[in-house]
Amino acid sequence: QDGKIRVAGIYTVPVEQQWVSRIHKALNAAQERGDIEYVYSENVSNTDYERVMREYAEQGMDLVVGEAFSVERAARKVAAEYPDTAFLMGSSFPAQEPNLAVFDNYIHEPAYLTGMIAGEATESNVIGMVGGFAIPEVNRLMHAFMAGATEVNPEVRFLVSFINSWYDPPKAKEAAFAMVDRGADILYAERFGVADAARERGIKAIGNVIDTSGDYPGTILASAIWHMEPTIDKAIEAVKNDTFAAEDYGQYSYMSHGGGSLVADEELAPEGAVEAAKAKQEEILSGAFEVEVDDTEPKSTM
């Protein structure tokens, strides 16, 4: 071995999906640095997930990264059977001894901050939110966003709808249009397609997980960005040093570890809004303020 560790990614969706793209990006970066050798399987159906895990484990991968969300049981079983392989899995459940560590997209903090900016920015006091599926990973960010907006603007109302697909931008766009027709002047863009609707109707949008402001100049007010690098790099280091353990890596998605960040467009945002958010960010970083994690399905408030 040339000192590189071998890492495999197993994703249930294509690597363009926002969530997975963050993991993929961090692993590609590690590969480029020369730290790891990285292979992946995308769009693995959950029937096949266990087999793919086993195949990678059998191939002698040092670290397997993936999402266990709808295959918890299988993932945990495989991990237990291959104690020499490190597994780092997206999961809402605790880690499992000795070799399954978990992470999740805990970027509710920046989502809260984007909510504050949106709450200031809205003039109609109606914010539209389009989601893929109502799962905890989505719900918690929406709730945090709503909490942030409500904090600065108690008048604000939310429209929420789900399109039941990770990948149907035309449909997401239509759902967003429907909200604009109902008076929304800010759109929370959980899915691809929503920001497009905002741009076409000349209103503003809030980004999520990835930074798309380059694609929609003049449209994205602020985004809550997820960075998987701290999580991935920690795991790689642990594997390298043989100290990988059944830990919860979720904390590395928090702002304090650089796992989440706020990007805001000061030109677009109303005066003072970004400053207020930045101030809140300091409170969060210092531990003075904690954003609540709420995984239930968000509902319209109109």
Binding site: N46, T47, D48, S70, I135, D295, E297
Partner: protein, 362 residues
């Protein structure tokens, strides 16, 4: 000019040679994208074979994937024989799975000897009931069952999601839309230690035998065939056409429901809305590849599963895009389809002997 003629009798050599030829043709075709992706073609073939059959693990994985296909394939065989175009196998599979977790994840407690039959029956009944709707709409209103069953697939999956976020959600799932696991007593026992292969396979094999006997040896099967071959002659002869179609619908939907039971109670343990990667649609393919023969459906299911599992494993071993596996499955499917044609028809170049050349004329 070229014409196709049916072969007077099936050529035995061809019946063996055609599938092999078809497989070979599929492999040759698959070489194009393989080479395109820069993979070593010959090694890829070897890896594909060993990925499907090369170890106990590979073999059990192939059979595991074949299990739901056998059942949805049989469901299609039963329906299509009676010319009831049930395209809603996917929805019926989910209905079966939903019933299995509704009954099997704690609502009822009983020993395994009771629980296992119970979830099987519940799943069968749910699938059957779901197919009853389209059958009745067809009989009462003439609503085309292709449309109703196809659209119901979407409705059922949404319904499953609703249940998984509502009454059937596992309280321990941390908010994830999934059901509570089926209790240990309701689990279809595994067949090979440490492997995923479960006794759903036995359910599939028994079902194949039952359907075979049904069509070959029973009055019901006879009536189903008669209605499928010529419904108006069957009606004239006094066969209850509507009743037969309802029976077909129930059995077909029920078999697809059983596939869903196998996937939750045998394989996964709990239900999520992405349980099936299209087993319902693949069942149609399996049935037609098997020329609507129930026992053939078993072979066809294993074939389809093996190609997928083998190609998928190969794509991972040599590091090409995993979409290649689906591509190889599609190519194999089309090649096998053509292969079946070759056993049934021969190609004739039409050249004629002229009368003047063929016979002495005065």
């Amino acid at each position: 000019m070229i014409r196709f003629e049916p072969r007077p009798e099936r050529n035995r050599l061809l019946r063996v040679a055609a599938p092999i030829g078809a497989a070979a043709a599929a492999l040759v075709l698959a070489a194009i994208p393989l080479a395109f992706a820069g993979a070593p073609v010959l090694r890829a073939y070897a890896l594909m074979f060993s990925g499907a059959f090369g170890s106990v693990f590979a073999l059990t994985e192939t059979l595991t994937r074949a299990t739901p296909l056998i059942l949805t394939g049989l469901a299609a065989v039963v329906a299509f024989r009676a010319k009831l175009w049930n395209i809603g196998l996917e929805g019926q599979l989910y209905a079966g799975a939903l019933a299995a977790v509704a009954v099997g994840s704690g609502a009822i407690m009983a020993p395994a000897g009771v629980m296992v039959p119970l979830v099987l029956i519940a799943g069968f009944a749910a699938g059957a009931l779901l197919m009853l709707g389209p059958a009745l709409l067809k009989l009462k209103f003439g609503a085309d069952e292709v449309v109703t069953t196809l659209l119901l697939n979407f409705v059922v999956i949404l319904f499953v999601q609703m249940m998984l976020e509502g009454p059937l959600q596992d309280p321990m799932s941390m908010g994830w839309p999934q059901s509570a696991p089926v209790v240990d007593e309701a689990v279809l026992p595994p067949l090979v230690e440490r492997m995923r292969l479960h006794s759903g396979l036995l359910v599939g094999l028994v079902a194949a035998a039952v359907v075979h006997v049904l069509f070959r040896h029973t009055v019901w099967g006879y009536e189903m065939r008669a209605v499928g071959e010529n419904a108006s002659a069957a009606r004239y002869a006094g066969i209850p056409v509507s009743g037969t179609l309802v029976r077909v619908a129930l059995i077909s939907g029920g078999l697809a429901g059983l596939a869903g039971v196998g996937e939750v109670a045998g394989l996964k343990g709990y239900l999520t809305a992405d349980l099936s990667p299209g087993f319902g649609y693949a069942g149609i393919v399996v049935a037609m590849l098997a020329a609507l023969s129930p026992l053939g459906a078993v072979l066809a299911a294993v074939f389809v599963a093996a190609v997928f599992v083998g190609a998928d494993s190969m794509s991972r071993a040599i590091g090409v895009s995993s979409y290649l596996a689906d591509l190889v499955v599609a190519l194999s499917l089309l090649c096998v389809l053509v292969g079946g044609f070759v056993t049934r028809y021969r190609i004739r170049r039409v050249t004629r002997h002229h009368a003047t050349a063929g016979r002495e004329r005065a």
